[in-house]
């Protein structure tokens, strides 16, 4: 959880109001979509 709190602090200067929380959840939503493309069958392109 520390990672995410830090991310929130970085992006929103630590003040987790409704708007900031929404932004973080939408950012995670975007990240989940990217993860879906990088499926477990081909976990890494490196």
């Amino acid at each position: 959880m520390a990672f995410y709190r830090n991310r929130a602090i970085h992006e929103f200067r630590g003040d987790l109001d409704q708007r900031a929380a929404r932004q973080i959840v939408l950012w995670i939503d975007h990240l989940l979509a990217l993860l879906e493309e990088a499926s477990p069958a081909q976990p890494s392109l490196v």
């Binding site: 520390a2 990672f3 409704q18 929404r22 989940l32 993860l35 493309e37 477990p40 890494s44 392109l45």
Partner: protein, 355 residues
Amino acid sequence: MPARDAKSPFAEFIAAFLATKESAKELAPKSVSDYGRLLREFDVYTERTDLESALTMANAKNWLREKRADGLNAAINATMYLKSFGMWACKEGYKCGPENVSVLFHLRAPKGKKRVRHALTQQQLDAIWKALADPSSPGGPRATALLRLLLATGLKRSATRTLLLDDFQIDAKGRRGHIIVRKKPYTDVGARKLRLDARTVAAVRAYVDVRPEYAGKLPEPLLLSKDQKGFTENGFGSWVQRITDYIEAETGIPWTTEDMRFTAKEEAKAIIRDPELREKCTEPLEKLEGDTNYEDAVMDACKILEVRVRTVSNPPHEHRSGWKLMQFAFAEPKPAVRISGDPNEQEAHCRCTPD
């Protein structure tokens, strides 16, 4: 009223035209005054001659060419005002063109540039807040308060001009609050109570703390002009334009109040696409009552992300959670999962520091 004909001075027709528009309630008082101002300008341009000599296609085109120097919108408005006057003059029987239509029937307004509204990114917003915090910013805390209000509420800028000080309410803990938006002062009919986040409340409070004493009649507006009164429509428009110009000059972001409004609306509309995330987070995010802890929604989202990242990256035991997991999964130079071909974008997803 003396009888007029096409040989009467053009100026005499202006008042009659405006009176017709006013009595038919076709125009708002401000528009009446704008029409009057522009038509008087046209009268001066045509050397205060009679209607017959003044109202010609050649005069109209030449005058509008000069008006272009005042800007595209000024030229468009001037064209439409003059065309409206021409139609009226024909309808009243003072002067018509050959086909019994206005002599300016074929006059075309210059084409306006269609500006596409865009939602501002978090980085752009940060740059705007930073520019506004600069002491050289026009309006200082007042400008920040206005922009924060626009972003928090999605209100039109004209509605922010008439917000009342008493309608700005801070909650018991002093962090968040509300603003009531009224159709008319003193009446609750059609009034809307809009929620304000902590940053907006802080910005409005910062402005209220340094705001000069109000010197006008009640009710007291929230945003005051520099002469300590409520803004006039024109005064407000000029001030907002100065802020817009300043922001664009300082940040390079072509910005309008409409963009801020659009950003608010887009954010409210943005839906969570991932079904699990949507199911877990929508409700805690939408809760408005009391001192809601939005961290619940973030916590749930983080847990889902952690499980997915773990599944995809298959980390060793010591990297199974928190920032270590994210570093293992995404950090350059050897991320376990590549989610972007752009190293900066890839890095952005694990920009983190340990506790």
